[in-house]
């Protein structure tokens, strides 16, 4: 369901009342009229703009997300990158992207050898079920990438 992201002020009861009539879909389209939505291609482009032509590798990066998020307004997310975090070998930055939100970018986190450990936890918004992508840029120029799917339900409706 796509009403989570932009309708914080709509009460659950209203949403439930609308759900049977299909108005939810119409109203959420109306709210986003004129706004492009992100998709996997937009995320791929955002990543390419960020890291250039470098090839990304799997592994060394873990993305912690719930499989099912009941409340898309605040979904806990954590990224950890394996690295010695020494002055010669450390994680420079971690970028998070969402394939199904109105915009692909979520956040960028920059680390230094003084971070000691390349791990960050935060909370993000998800308008609907989608894939989340995390990209780690290492000091040696390597890029690691991971993708996880999250299913977003309206709290309490199950799914």
């Amino acid at each position: 369901m796509s009403v989570q992201f932009n309708t914080q002020n709509i009460r659950r009861r209203d949403v439930l009342a609308l759900a049977g009539t299909g108005v939810v879909a119409v109203s959420s389209i109306g709210l986003f009229a004129g706004d492009a939505m992100a998709d996997p291609a937009a995320v791929a482009k955002a990543i390419k703009d960020r890291i250039g032509g470098k090839k990304s590798m799997a592994g060394n990066i873990t993305l912690e997300l719930p499989q099912i998020a009941e409340n898309g307004n605040t979904v806990p997310i954590a990224v950890e990158v394996e690295s010695p975090m020494s002055s010669s070998d450390y994680v420079k930055a971690v970028h998070i992207y969402a394939e199904g939100n109105p915009a692909p970018d979520v956040a960028t986190f920059r680390f230094t050898p003084d971070s000691g450990r390349a791990r960050v936890s935060t909370r993000m918004r998800m308008i609907k079920s989608q894939n989340i992508v995390a990209v780690a840029e290492m000091s040696n120029g390597k890029v690691h990438m991971v993708k996880n799917a999250v299913k977003v339900t309206i709290g309490g409706c199950g799914g």
Partner: protein, 107 residues
Amino acid sequence: MAKARVKAPKSVKKGEVFEVKTLISHKMETGLRKNKKTGKKIPRKIINKFSVTYGGKEVFGSDWHPAVSANPYVSFFVKASASGPMKFQWTEDGGAVTEKTVNIKVT
């Protein structure tokens, strides 16, 4: 602008890697919502930058987009080098800055 909270250990051993948790109250208005009465878009107002300095250097920095939840929470790690202030800065769209400083005691 907003009320910020930081949780860090009272004292740490030199070289120890410790976790710092931060929370700031902020609506993180996405710019996509509409005022239900007027139909007009509510302008975007989010915290777009959060950075942490310790020992005179930036040890953790971040750029945020509207997909970061309201009342942003972030936790991260820092390696203890020397006793001193750790400064946190949240920068809002328009340039307003909320600052908070905690003292890190390294033993």
